[in-house]
C-alpha cells in the first residue's frame, strides 16, 4: 500500500485525494491520510523544531541523544524535523508522540533532559516539567489531566489560520501538507472554477495587503488580470529585512507550501504563467526549505505545464536577494530582478500594469499570499467572520524585546494591542512596568500605555496614527532609551537608503547626525557642538516632515516615523538628553564631558578620591586631569569640587 519508510506517496494517488471532499474518501484513503498526518504512527516519534532560532542549540546532539536512547531501549524511534510552533523563547521545542496517543510538546529541552522524558512517556507517564501541552488529533487518545497546548497562555486565544501547521508537519513534505487539506483549493480551482469566478471571491473577501498599508488587494488583482498582455507575473516579496521582525521567516521555514499554494492560486486567478519568490540570501534555511518544497510540488505534478490537465501552466522560481532592505519596496525588487541596482522607480506606472520587464506584475508579501488558499478553500463569508468589518482575517506579529515570551502570534483583527503584550507575551520581563512599544520596525511608531487598548486594525490604527508595518512588535521597559532606539533605527534607514533621492539620502544622514549629537559625548569641546544639538533638535521635525512628503519611496517617507512619534511621546526625555545631558534609562553613557580648569584647580585631590571610575589622576597641589576614555560622565567630581574647577560640556 504505502511505503512506511519514506512517508511519500505516488503523485497520482495524491491527485485523486486533492479533488475529493473528506466524506468521499474511502477507508484506504482515510487511513493513508491519517498516516501522512502522522496522526497514526507505528513507532514512537520525536519531532524536532529545526528553525533558525533553534538550530543554535545543536540539532545533531538531539538526534544523537534519541538514537542512543533508542539503542539502549531496543526501540526504533522516528525523528522528524518540523518547523516552529512560534514560541521562540521556549526553544528548543520537542514533540514526543507514541502510537495511539496525542503528541506532547516540551520546551527548553536539552539533549540531556530528553532521554528521561522519553523514558517516562513510553511508560505512559507525562512529566510536567517544561511541558507546553498535548496536541490531540482526531483518532488519538488524549492524556488525562494533561493541559492542551492551545491552553498555554502563549497560544490561548490565538486564531491560527496561517500558523496551524507550523511546528506540526515536516515543512517540505507536499504529501503531509496535502494530507492536512493543502493544495485542495488549488486543485479544485483548476478543475472546477474559472479565474473570473475566483477573482470575485477575492474581491468579496476584502483581502487587504499585509505589508502595512492595508490596501485592498483585489484592486491590484483586477488590474493585473485585466491589463492586456502576453505575459504576467506573480512576485512574492519574501525579502523581510525588518530588524526585529521574523514572522515571515518562521512561516517560510515552517510551512512553505502554504505560501506556494497562495502563489499558485494568485497566478491562476490573474492569468500569470510565471511566478517568482524573492527572498533574502541571509535566510539560508528558508531558501533551502522553499527550494525543497517547490521540488516536491513539482514532483507531485502541481507545477509545470498543463497542471492536472487543466491547460494552466506555471513555474515558480526562487531568487535570492543579495541584501538590501530597500528591496522590500515593490519597484525596487523589480529592478533587482531585472539585474539592476535595487532602486525604487516613480509610480505611476504601477507594477500591476507595468511591472517586471514592463509586464503586469502582482506583487504581494508572504503573509498576504498565505491568506489566499484559506479564502478560496473556505469562502469569503467564512473569512470575513474573523476580524472586523473593514479588516478581515488575521495578522501575524512577532514579539521581541523586553517581553516575557518571545515568538510569532496570529490574532484576528480587532484584538487590542494589550492582549499581545499581556496575554500572549506574558507581560514585560521580570514584572517591570511597560514603557512603550515600537510597532512597525524602522518605519514604525512608538505606542505608550495610553494607546495600548487600541484594537489592531487598519481603521483604528489610522485614527490613532499608529503603524502596523509587517507586524514587528518590540517591547520597551524603563531600562530602554527611546532616544537611543530612534538613533539606531535612523542609522539603519540611513545605511539602507538607496541614495537616489535627496530627502532620504541626505535627510536620514542629517537626522542621524542630530540624534548622534544628542546621544553621545561631544566630539570636540567647543560650544559648536552644543549649538548644533539645539539647532538640530529644533529642525528635526521639519526635516522629518519634508522627508515624509517628498521622498520617492516608502523607505524615505517612513524613515522619520520613529523620530516624529518619539519626539511627541518622549519630549521630556529628549529634553533631558539635549539640555541636561542625562539619559534616565542609563543607556546613553558619557553624555557629558568633564574638564578640569587648570586656573581654578588647587590639587585638593577630592575629586580623585570620589571618582567611582578612578578616572582622575594628579599629584597633591598640582592640577589634576580627567582621563576621557575612562570617565563615565557621572558628574561626581562636579558635585564635590569646591573650587569651581570642573567644566561640564
Amino acid at each position: 500500500m504505502i511505503q512506511e519508510m519514506t512517508n511519500r506517496i505516488n503523485p497520482r494517488e495524491l491527485q485523486e485525494i486533492l479533488l475529493l471532499e473528506k466524506p468521499e474518501l474511502n477507508q484506504e484513503q482515510q487511513a493513508m491520510i491519517r498516516f501522512l498526518r502522522r496522526e497514526r504512527i507505528s513507532r514512537p516519534a520525536v519531532f524536532l523544531d529545526v528553525t533558525s532560532p533553534s538550530v543554535i542549540y545543536g540539532i545533531d546532539q538531539f538526534k544523537v541523544a534519541v538514537k542512543e536512547w533508542g539503542e539502549n531501549n531496543a526501540l526504533d524511534v522516528d525523528v522528524v524535523e518540523t518547523g516552529s510552533l512560534g514560541l521562540i523563547s521556549a526553544e528548543p521545542v520537542i514533540g514526543i508522540q507514541i502510537p495511539g496517543r496525542a503528541r506532547l510538546y516540551y520546551g527548553q529541552i536539552t539533549p540531556l533532559k530528553l532521554p528521561s522524558i522519553l523514558d517516562a512517556v513510553v511508560r505512559q507517564v507525562v512529566p510536567e516539567e517544561n511541558l507546553i501541552g498535548q496536541m490531540l488529533m482526531a483518532s488519538q487518545q488524549p492524556w488525562e489531566g494533561i493541559p492542551f497546548w492551545d491552553q498555554h497562555p502563549f497560544f490561548k486565544g490565538q486564531t491560527r489560520y496561517l500558523m496551524n501547521l507550523c511546528g506540526v508537519i515536516d515543512p517540505c513534505s507536499a504529501s503531509e501538507y496535502i494530507a492536512w487539506g493543502g493544495y485542495q483549493a488549488f486543485a479544485k480551482s483548476l478543475r472546477y472554477y474559472t479565474s473570473q469566478e475566483l477573482l470575485k471571491l477575492i474581491e468579496e473577501s476584502n483581502l487587504r495587503g499585509r505589508s502595512g498599508s492595508g490596501f485592498l488587494a483585489a484592486t491590484k488583482w483586477l488590474k493585473v488580470a485585466n491589463t492586456p498582455s502576453d505575459k504576467r507575473y506573480v512576485l512574492c516579496n519574501a525579502d523581510e529585512s525588518d530588524p526585529g521582525g521574523y514572522m515571515h521567516r518562521i512561516l517560510m521555514e515552517s510551512n512553505p507550501h502554504l505560501i506556494i499554494e497562495g502563489i499558485m492560486l494568485a497566478a491562476y486567478i490573474t492569468g500569470s504563467g510565471q511566478a517568482i519568490i524573492y527572498t533574502r540570501s541571509r535566510y539560508p534555511m528558508a531558501v533551502k526549505r522553499l527550494q525543497k518544497a517547490l521540488q516536491e510540488a513539482r514532483s507531485a505534478g502541481l507545477l509545470g505545464s498543463d497542471i492536472l490537465k487543466s491547460g494552466f501552466s506555471l513555474d515558480i522560481q526562487l531568487k535570492r536577494g543579495p541584501g538590501a532592505y530597500v528591496c522590500g519596496e515593490e519597484t525596487a525588487i523589480l529592478s533587482s530582478l531585472e539585474g539592476k541596482r535595487g532602486m525604487p522607480q516613480n509610480r505611476p506606472p504601477y507594477p500591476a500594469t507595468q511591472g517586471l520587464f514592463d509586464k503586469p506584475t502582482l506583487v504581494h508579501n508572504v503573509e498576504t499570499l498565505a491568506q489566499v488558499p484559506l479564502i478560496i478553500r473556505n469562502g469569503p463569508e467564512w473569512y470575513k467572520k474573523t476580524g472586523t468589518a473593514e479588516s478581515s482575517g488575521t495578522k501575524l506579529f512577532s514579539l521581541s524585546g523586553r517581553i516575557s515570551r518571545l515568538g510569532v502570534v496570529e490574532v484576528p483583527f480587532g484584538t487590542p494591542l494589550k492582549t499581545l503584550v499581556n496575554d500572549f507575551g506574558g507581560g514585560v520581563r521580570n514584572g517591570q512596568p511597560l514603557k512603550a512599544l515600537l510597532l512597525g520596525g524602522p518605519s514604525g511608531k512608538f505606542v505608550t500605555a495610553t494607546q495600548i487598548d487600541t484594537p489592531i486594525d487598519f481603521e483604528h490604527f489610522e485614527e490613532e496614527d499608529l503603524v502596523m508595518g509587517s507586524g514587528s512588535l518590540v517591547v520597551l521597559d524603563e531600562g530602554c532609551c527611546p532616544i537611543n532606539l530612534m538613533k539606531n533605527l535612523m542609522d539603519f534607514n540611513h545605511q539602507e537608503s538607496c541614495g537616489k533621492c535627496i530627502p532620504c539620502r541626505d535627510g536620514t544622514k542629517r537626522v542621524l547626525s542630530i540624534l548622534k549629537s544628542v546621544t553621545t559625548r561631544p566630539a570636540n569641546q567647543e560650544k559648536f557642538d552644543a549649538l548644533e544639538r539645539f539647532r538640530g533638535i529644533t529642525r528635526i521635525e521639519e526635516l522629518a516632515e519634508v522627508m515624509k512628503s517628498t521622498s520617492l519611496c516608502g523607505l524615505g517617507k517612513t524613515a522619520a516615523n520613529p523620530v516624529i512619534s518619539g519626539m511627541k511621546l518622549f519630549r521630556e526625555e529628549m529634553e533631558e538628553h539635549v539640555f541636561d545631558r542625562i539619559c534616565r534609562a542609563g543607556v546613553c553613557r558619557n553624555l557629558r564631558s568633564f574638564r578640569i580648569d587648570p586656573v581654578n584647580c588647587t590639587g585638593c585631590n577630592i575629586c580623585m578620591i570620589k571618582c567611582p571610575e578612578n578616572a582622575i589622576i594628579g599629584s597633591p597641589h598640582k592640577v589634576h586631569i580627567i582621563m576621557e576614555d575612562i570617565c563615565s560622565g557621572c558628574g561626581k567630581c562636579y558635585e564635590v569640587c569646591k573650587f569651581n574647577a570642573i567644566r561640564v560640556l
Binding site: 541596482r341 538607496c498 541614495g499 541626505d506 542629517r510 539647532r535 519634508v546 520617492l552
Partner: protein, 565 residues
C-alpha cells in the same frame, strides 16, 4: 485628449497623460528642476520639482507624474516652497563652499536654484566633504565633492553616447558616480568626448586646464605663441560677442586673440581642406582597388577611441590620414621658423577647439619625447574666453582691427568640418570639382545639410554613384551600423562624429544649459562658408615652399595616439 486642470486657482489646458512639468511649461508656469534633462526619461531623484496635488497627502514630482482629469495643483504653495528649500538646504549643506574658486561660478545651476528659492541663511551646519578627485584622464577631471548625483552624466554617457564609462557606485549617502573598480576615467571606457561636461549642472566635471600654461606662454617674450583656431570656435562666437554678422565676428575674435598676446593666429582652414583632399585621394584609391568596404573618416578622436575599444574590427577601415589638428602645428612651426628665424623649439602652438578629446594630444599632456606632431597646448572654447577676459580684453568694444594670418592660401570648405556631415561635404565638393554634371548645384545640397543626426545620401561624381552617410552621436552610430550590418547595406564612405551635431556641440563649447541652440551655430557655419563661395575646391592646395617633404613624411605615419597607448 485635451483636458482641463486647475493650477494655482486658474484653469489651464493640458494633454491627458503628459507630465505635469510639460503642461505647466506650456502655460507659462515655471517649476524649478535639477535632475531633469529634456529628451530623457525622468528619474525623479532630486525632488525639487515637487508640487502639491489636492487629495494626496504627499507632494508629487512634476517631472514624472502624469496629468489627470480634474487635478487640482498648487505649484508654489508655502508647503511646496518650504519643501524645495529644505531639500536644497540639505544639498547645499554637503556641497563644498568654494564657489568663488570654482570653474562654474556664475554659471552653476545650483547657484541659480539657490537664488530662485531665495535661500537667505543656512540653518543646517555645513559638512566638510572631501572626495577623491579623479584626474587620471588627460582630458576630463571629475570632482565628486561637487557632484549632486543628478545622474545626467551617466545617462548621456550611456544613452546618448553608448559608452557607459560611469555609473552610480555604492548606496545611500555613500553613493557616488565613478568608473569600474574605482580606477578612474583613464582606465574606463571613456572616449573623452566631454558631452558629460555640457550637461553637468555644477562644477563636478570640467576639462583639464591648460589656461595657465598658455597665459604664461603669451607673456613670455622668449616664446612665439601661435593660435590655431578650429572652425567650431567661430560657430558659437556669436554667443559671446554682440556683433551680428559672421564676417564681423571673425575679425572680432581674432582681434581679441591678438590683443591677448598671440603673436599669430591662424584658422585651421587650410589644414582641414588639405585633410579633405588627402581623404578624397585615399577614398578614390580604395574605390579603384574595389575593396567593397566602407571608409570611415577618422578626424573625430572620440570616435577613433570608441572604435578601438568597442568595435575593433573596424580599425582597418579607418582612413589612415592624419587629422588637420595633428598636421598643422608641425607645418606651422616649420613655416614660421623659416619665415622669422625663430627656432622651432621656441614656437608654441595653441590649438583652440571645441574638442575635449584633443586635449590628450597636447604635448604638455604627453610629456617629453613626443613625436613632434600635435599642438603644445589645447584650449577649449570656454578656456579661451577666460583667457581673453583675464587679460582685460573687452570683447564688446573691439573694432575690426586684426585679421587672421594666412597659411597656404584660401581654402574652400575649411569651415564645414565644424558640423557633422561637413567633412563629407568637403570631400564631395572635391570629388565633383572637375565634373560638369553635379547633383549639388552651387555647392549647397539641401539633403546634406541640417542638424539631423543620421543622414544618408547618394552622390554622383567621377561618373559613378557613391553611397555616403554622416552620423553623429555614438548611440546613433551603434544602432545605425547594427542595422546596416543586419540588412547588409553597402556604404562607401561613413563619417562619424561622437558629439551629436558635430563639433558645434563639442564638449568644449560654452555651456548654455540644457537648451543649447545648435541650429543657430550651424547657421553661422554656413554663413562663414559662404565667404569662400567664390573659390573652387581643388585637389592641390598651394603649400608654402619648403614644406612638401615634411608633409609627405608626416602623412606616411598615421597612428592614432591611442593605439600607441
Amino acid at each position: 485628449m485635451i483636458i482641463e486642470i486647475d493650477v494655482n486657482g486658474r484653469k489651464i489646458k493640458a494633454r491627458k497623460g503628459e507630465r505635469i512639468l510639460d503642461a505647466l511649461k506650456a502655460n507659462g508656469i515655471r517649476v524649478p528642476t535639477l535632475c531633469n534633462m529634456d529628451g530623457f526619461k525622468p528619474t525623479g531623484s532630486c525632488r525639487i520639482c515637487v508640487v502639491e496635488v489636492e487629495g494626496r497627502p504627499d507632494l508629487v514630482p512634476a517631472c514624472s507624474y502624469p496629468v489627470e482629469e480634474w487635478m487640482v495643483l498648487y505649484t508654489h504653495s508655502p508647503r511646496v516652497i518650504q519643501a524645495r528649500r529644505t531639500i536644497l538646504e540639505l544639498l547645499l549643506a554637503e556641497h563644498p563652499e568654494g564657489c568663488l574658486t570654482c570653474d562654474r561660478n556664475r554659471g552653476c545651476e545650483l547657484q541659480e536654484l539657490a537664488d530662485e528659492l531665495n535661500i537667505s541663511c543656512q540653518n543646517l551646519s555645513h559638512v566638510q566633504v572631501s572626495k577623491r578627485i579623479d584626474n587620471t584622464s588627460r582630458a576630463l577631471i571629475r570632482d565628486n565633492a561637487k557632484c549632486i548625483l543628478c545622474g545626467r552624466c551617466i545617462r548621456i554617457c550611456e544613452e546618448q553616447q553608448a559608452v557607459a564609462a560611469i555609473d552610480f557606485l555604492h548606496r545611500g549617502s555613500r553613493i557616488e558616480v565613478g568608473t569600474v573598480l574605482d580606477k578612474g576615467l583613464s582606465y574606463s571606457s571613456c572616449v573623452n568626448c566631454g558631452q558629460c561636461i555640457l550637461v553637468c549642472p555644477t562644477g563636478a566635471l570640467k576639462e583639464r586646464n591648460h589656461m595657465n600654461d598658455v597665459v604664461r606662454s603669451l607673456h613670455d617674450p622668449e616664446l612665439l605663441t601661435i593660435g590655431l583656431v578650429d572652425p567650431a570656435v567661430m560657430a558659437s562666437a556669436g554667443e559671446h560677442f554682440r556683433s551680428k554678422g559672421g564676417k564681423e565676428l571673425r575679425t572680432s575674435l581674432f582681434s581679441a586673440l591678438k590683443r591677448a598676446g598671440f603673436n599669430r593666429v591662424y584658422e585651421n582652414h587650410w589644414g582641414l581642406e588639405k585633410e579633405a583632399t588627402i581623404l578624397t585621394n585615399k577614398f578614390l584609391q580604395q574605390i579603384d582597388a574595389n575593396s567593397q568596404k566602407p571608409m570611415f573618416l577618422s578626424s573625430c578622436p572620440s570616435f577613433v577611441q570608441y572604435v578601438i575599444q568597442s568595435q575593433s574590427d573596424l580599425i582597418p577601415l579607418l582612413a589612415p590620414v592624419k587629422p588637420a589638428r595633428q598636421l598643422m602645428p608641425m607645418l606651422l612651426r616649420k613655416q614660421i621658423s623659416a619665415e622669422t628665424g625663430w627656432p622651432e623649439s621656441r614656437i608654441v602652438v595653441v590649438y583652440l577647439t571645441a574638442c575635449i578629446a584633443a586635449k590628450p594630444e597636447a604635448h604638455t599632456s604627453i610629456g617629453p619625447g613626443s613625436d613632434g606632431y600635435g599642438p603644445d597646448h589645447v584650449l577649449s572654447i570656454r578656456e579661451m574666453y577666460r583667457v581673453i577676459r583675464l587679460l582685460g580684453i573687452n570683447i564688446d568694444k573691439l573694432g575690426v582691427e586684426m585679421l587672421p594670418d594666412e597659411f597656404g592660401g584660401n581654402a574652400r570648405s575649411g569651415y564645414l568640418p565644424a558640423l557633422s556631415g561637413g567633412m563629407t561635404e568637403a570631400i564631395i565638393r572635391i570629388l565633383q570639382s572637375d565634373a560638369s554634371e553635379t547633383s549639388l548645384p552651387g555647392g549647397r545640397p539641401a539633403r546634406l545639410r541640417g542638424t539631423r543626426e543620421i543622414r544618408e545620401f547618394s552622390v554622383q561624381a567621377k561618373g559613378r554613384t557613391f553611397q555616403m552617410a554622416s552620423i553623429s552621436g555614438l548611440t546613433n552610430f551603434k544602432n545605425w551600423y547594427q542595422d546596416v550590418l543586419d540588412k547588409n547595406r553597402h556604404f562607401d564612405l561613413i563619417e562619424v562624429m561622437a558629439c551629436p551635431g558635430g563639433c558645434i556641440n563639442g564638449g568644449g563649447q560654452p555651456i548654455a544649459g540644457p537648451h543649447t541652440d545648435i541650429k543657430s551655430r550651424a547657421k553661422m557655419v554656413f554663413e562663414l562658408d559662404n565667404l569662400y563661395s567664390g573659390i573652387s575646391p581643388s585637389e592641390d592646395l598651394p603649400l608654402p615652399p619648403g614644406l612638401e617633404l615634411p608633409l609627405q613624411a608626416t602623412l606616411a605615419t598615421f597612428l592614432p595616439r591611442e593605439i600607441i597607448k
